[in-house]
Symmetry: C2
């Protein structure tokens, strides 16, 4: 299949290009480089030594991957006309909740980038390739933490003795998550109005350093961020463990979320791509291996770290976010397993592999270690979180 990846230079985009390429698909993609830019702007940097964009472009070309730096907010029409994609994977979004809460400018950049890219892709698909399949990356965070189970896609709502199949109500917890809700709404609408087909992937938090395609070639590595904005829970915990910095858990740490290793995120996206829905169908997949509380993950990292000789401890720090710290959480994940998704690794084994990989880059973690403690607070202020 011909697969176009919007956001091909990102944490997920690059390994997805490698994964699909290895599976025999023809891959092209574009990226505006915002991830590199914004991480630097926040004072962070990738821990894995990834290639610069030009080197990566040439490297990709040698593998048969068309890698272009450019704006996916700009018209996609010409690119789709030229490439004739069977599937378009839309990863071209600024994916950070804290970044979107840092100020009006950051909030608005997140909104404009994410909405415009999504709308641009939809309008271009309508005009150029209405038969193509849009695999759009959503987030489990669109649902918030409701007090009931979270289904996939429409679910039965009974109200005053009538029944309707309706989309699950959205309760995002940050402006970033709100942009994702807006995008999901737009994609569903385009499927309904224009007969486009889409898989909307409500993904849990991804963690991990590698996929099988990377082997031992450092040039194939994907970026790995640990700063408060673009780093996420397990990845940051592992980086902390490697430099024997306390593992910092926000608040009580009983916040529960879905998590999935990077390699299985690739597996799932591949399954979605290779099993397109019918024309006009908008389907929703929840995508995670399991749900875990933050503190249970911190404890695993601490324990596995100890078995590798790393001495660390867990520190509870002020939660910069406004979120429930103890709540019911029971999302479905049935659609992907039904199509063949099987977790390749237990979380424990994947954490071991992350810790081992990161040991090589200890000095790079040290370099950015002041970015490990959050400053951006959901109440609109900025201040480093203190230990509780």
């Amino acid at each position: 299949m011909k697969v176009f990846i919007a956001g091909i230079d990102g944490y997920l985009g690059w390994p997805l290009a490698l994964y699909l390429n290895a599976r025999g698909h023809s891959v092209a993609g574009i990226d505006n480089g915002y991830r590199r830019l914004l991480v630097r702007e926040m004072g962070g940097g990738t821990i894995t030594p990834i290639q610069g964009p030009i080197k990566r472009k040439n490297f990709a070309r040698n593998m048969g991957i068309e890698f272009e730096m450019g704006d996916a907010c700009g018209s996609m029409v010409d690119r789709f006309k030229k490439f004739k994609p069977d599937a378009i994977v839309h990863l071209a979004e600024i994916p950070s909740a804290p970044y979107s809460m840092a100020g009006f400018g950051e909030c608005w950049l997140t909104f404009i980038n994410n909405s415009k890219t999504t709308l641009n892709i939809l309008w271009a698909m309508k005009d150029v390739c209405p038969e193509a399949h849009l695999v759009k990356l959503g987030t489990m965070g669109e649902y918030g933490t409701p007090d009931i189970d979270i289904p996939e896609g429409h679910f039965p709502v009974e109200f005053r003795n009538r029944l309707a199949m309706l989309p699950f109500p959205r309760q995002p917890g940050s402006f970033y998550h709100a942009t994702k809700c807006a995008d999901s709404i737009n994609v569903e609408l385009a499927c309904k109005l224009w007969g486009l087909r889409s898989t909307d992937v409500m993904q849990g938090v991804v963690f991990g350093t590698r996929t099988d395609e990377m082997g031992n070639n450092e040039k194939l590595l994907t970026r790995f961020d640990i700063d408060e904005c673009f780093g996420t829970a397990i990845n940051r915990f592992c980086a902390q463990a490697v430099i024997e910095h306390p593992i910092t858990v926000y608040g009580k740490g009983m916040q529960k979320r879905g998590f999935i290793p990077l390699r299985d995120s690739m597996q799932c996206l591949g399954i979605a791509i290779e099993n397109p829905p019918e024309a006009g169908e908008y389907r929703v997949f929840n995508q995670f291996e399991g749900t875990y509380t933050l503190v249970s993950l911190a404890r695993r990292v601490e324990r596995i770290g100890a078995s590798l000789g790393l001495k660390t401890e867990i520190n509870y720090i002020e939660n910069p976010r406004i979120e429930e710290e103890k709540h019911y959480y029971n999302p479905d994940c049935k659609e992907l397993p039904r199509l063949g998704y099987r977790p390749t690794r237990a979380v424990t084994r994947e954490i071991t592999s992350v810790l081992q990989d990161l040991m090589k880059y200890k000095d790079r973690i040290e370099k950015f270690k002041d970015r490990l403690i959050p400053e951006v607070r959901w109440d609109g202020t900025k201040r480093k979180s203190e230990r509780l």
Copy 2:
């Protein structure tokens, strides 16, 4: 109270300024003039001969209303600091479903204008006047036409033997309606995170030429649009009747919507402003007088027109929209009546008054009558609707 109106030059904004001023409130507002511009761009024009922006500004100043032409997308911080509003009414949105479906450019302008204005107001409120009350105009169209009753605000959802209070699922039918959903999500979020207070008004279709404050002073009239993008059902039907043009109903005409006369929209917004919610509260009001099918309204306009000597007929034309043409529709409207809203006029009496007002401007309707038949189709094409 000190009330700031974002979108003060619009169909609702201007009469709201007059209404609140007459009730003794101190009123200031801003408008970027997009409504004037976009109606012209679509080849339309207001039927009522409203003043140009500069004349209106001076006229407003003489009445004690601060009327500013400027961009509500730009920073509101300075304006809020200076004016110290108790309430902010956010009407500064491009309100047209067909406009948003006309092409990527129109779609994106609607998205960027509406989201940016909303986010700008929210961030400025957080920093300058977190105690103020945001009255934001939503639309009944955010709900779509679900097969169950539509409550106001959160409602009980029972799923797999658990119960949660959740926002009603949103199913917008156009990109314009999608922007409104995004705005509602952002406003609810800001209330939750920052303790702002807001009333989100899910308004039905407004119709009418006047409010009591306008008396017989033509200079006080608000704009009245009849083109396919900015004109809405009853207003367009009345304009058609006045020039004895067939009243054009989209499709079967059994689409049911909530409708409210302009004067009662003012009454309702006034009630919302004068009865603010608690800090941190996000409340939703559905706002309409009653629900009607399009064809029942067309028949009323035809009948009342006949009683005024106007000969017209109803033509069913191809529906340019993709929407259900026969559906269940039973939204609640309990919150506003609970606070004192009483419809001042029956729909029939209000239609009579619109027809009488419009007779004076027959030649202006004739001038724009080629804009009465829709061209923008929801499937992304453009073609005048034919008679069915």
